[in-house]
Symmetry: C2
Subunit: 353 residues, 2 copies
């Protein structure tokens, strides 16, 4: 039975990608050995790494100042690697949720950390706007989509300060002017691939300026100099990410992804607004296209609703353990059909109740 | 065609592991979703992580002071994470090759670093012995197997200083008194799994003593407190490692691995000692059971030898790019039959020459 996979991450990948991944476990690139057991220095895998890096630049239309890396440790490692590499004295952060807060915590190990605005007082149910950005900050860090709360940034501050963005949960899901950013990073396991690699696209012109001595593995310049192959990369995670990026391109790129993501999220929000049994706390203008958080208005319906969506073949609908309720993650690879199934279950519950 | 896979890493894994990995890409643990797309917080994956950690303790017979972690960044990240966590003021290192040298370089970011002995002057063709260990060192770091040069440590210094060991290329390949060590680490991609995770087994009693502020992700205590699930772990790499550990256990554990590895390496070294067309630079008492380095005595035979082993279905025999020649990696999963095939090719070359 094929499930409707609403997991928030690791999340659903395109069907053909699973097939190609299995094929490569049998025989990678016609070499007669598995992708799990092939030297990362082989010409065949080097080509995969180069293709993945090139596809990222292409899909985001990044200018030549950008270098693309596939590193390890997830976005959480970037929380410290960013200030290590970019903070001279002072960094600014927008606090839009748990992940932003974790990034802020790491920044404080390295220097003065200004929180320009926070929506903590309203359970991160909106994206703060109209805050001042200190002109002497080395960068402003934002989280473009907040997986736990279901908010997303649709506007970015006009500032001369370089923008650093955690795009873990909305990378490749929509068109943006990515050249407005100084550094973009994203754990792979939502819209790009399996867990085990983190994408970093960084402007070379921002590096090497802090005067700080950086341990080799934490220094972006180490990895740039070696084409993201300084040490053994996470071969399989990079391969599957490359396959997913090829799929995004074949489907029409980020514009095409945005179109379908818009359709999927519209359908679900429409039902949440209509159906009296459900509500969502997120402010309308900040509603995420990727992670839709909601809950029942009547707690007593929970066992019945849970039974119904499980019976409909839905998996991964539980909200984050810190907030409860429900969360439907509508990543690129999730078919419209899955959202329709969820909406039908919600309507069926209404009829029964 | 099935290849004889002599790659130095990522290296060969057991046949059944590839099959189980493919199966899990289709349907993990009967959940109806792929291992690539399942929440790491699911009960099913949490059980995998716990099983992997338990199997490591069991296979190495580790005492209760040890905590087992599956982290990211490879052994190279451990080069800095170890001094970050364990060095108060001074650390001692044994220099047995390129990887040891890289570990030494990182240690110098954190404090006084004493190189107790080095075999650099003889191209790392032996393991230094009989060196003094400074009693006030916080630890002594050794590399138990040197993948590039083909040397292996069979004796360890008697010292009160905690031993820290990079076992990346001989983990689970032989029986040792692992409780003599304070910290053991190993990149997965040789004897344990695919690239993308690094095993760390560390004594809790050594931690939290440096007074140094450690960024969250680099602090072992962060990961211990969360059962190696502080942030999204490299799900697939941990799963495949768990499968490989199960295979090692089913085959009879590290004693059984050592027996077959001894047989494989003996066969190959016997031929290298006998066949006048080949030589190896490594001192007899330090010869690795895992990576056998050798070369032709007559350069003019290279094209013919290369043609012959490729024709015999052998892959991955090239020496490391820094030393040239040949290297046969005889990891746990490599069948005896593959070594026999290589030896036959060597004998055939001798007949022809």
């Amino acid at each position: 039975m094929k499930k409707h996979n609403f997991f928030a991450g690791p999340g659903i990948l395109p069907g053909p990608v699973y097939e190609q991944a299995k094929q490569a476990i049998d025989d990678f690139a016609g070499m007669g050995v598995s992708i799990l057991s092939v030297s990362h220095r082989s010409a065949e895998f080097s080509a995969v790494m180069e293709k993945a890096r090139t596809l990222v630049k292409e899909l985001m239309n990044l200018d030549d100042d950008f270098e693309v890396l596939f590193l390890q440790g997830g976005a959480s490692m970037q929380f410290l690697q960013i200030p290590y590499n970019l903070m001279h004295k002072k960094a600014a952060y927008l606090d839009t949720g748990a992940w932003a807060s974790k990034a802020i915590k790491e920044s404080r190990y390295f220097g003065e950390t200004v929180v320009v605005a926070s929506s903590a007082n309203e359970q991160y149910s909106y994206i703060p706007k109209g805050y001042p950005v200190p002109e002497d900050a080395d960068y402003l860090h934002v989280t473009t989509n907040n997986t736990i709360y279901g908010t997303q940034m649709f506007d970015f501050p006009e500032t001369e300060v370089p923008l650093v963005a955690d795009m873990s949960s909305d990378i490749f899901s929509r068109k943006l002017d990515f050249n407005r950013f100084g550094l973009i990073y994203a754990g792979a396991q939502k819209n790009m691939g399996p867990a085990g690699t983190v994408l970093v696209a960084v402007r070379k012109s921002l590096l090497g300026k802090t005067g700080r001595r950086i341990p080799t593995m934490l220094d972006y310049e180490t990895h740039i100099a070696k084409g993201s192959m300084f040490n053994t990369p996470p071969v399989f995670a990079v391969y599957v990410s490359m396959l997913t990026l090829e799929w995004v391109k074949a489907k029409g790129g980020v514009e095409a992804m945005e179109k379908i993501n818009r359709e999927k999220s519209r359908l679900l929000y429409k039902e949440l607004d209509r159906n009296p049994l459900f509500n969502t706390k997120v402010r309308k203008e900040d509603r995420s296209m990727m992670n839709v958080t909601f809950d029942l208005t009547d707690e007593s319906l929970r066992p019945e609703f849970d039974r119904m969506w499980k019976e409909a073949g839905i998996i991964g609908l539980k909200g984050h353990r810190s907030v409860g309720g429900y969360r439907a993650s509508l990543y690129n690879a999730l078919p419209l059909e899955s959202v329709k199934t969820l909406v039908e279950v919600m309507q069926e519950l209404e009829k029964k109740a």
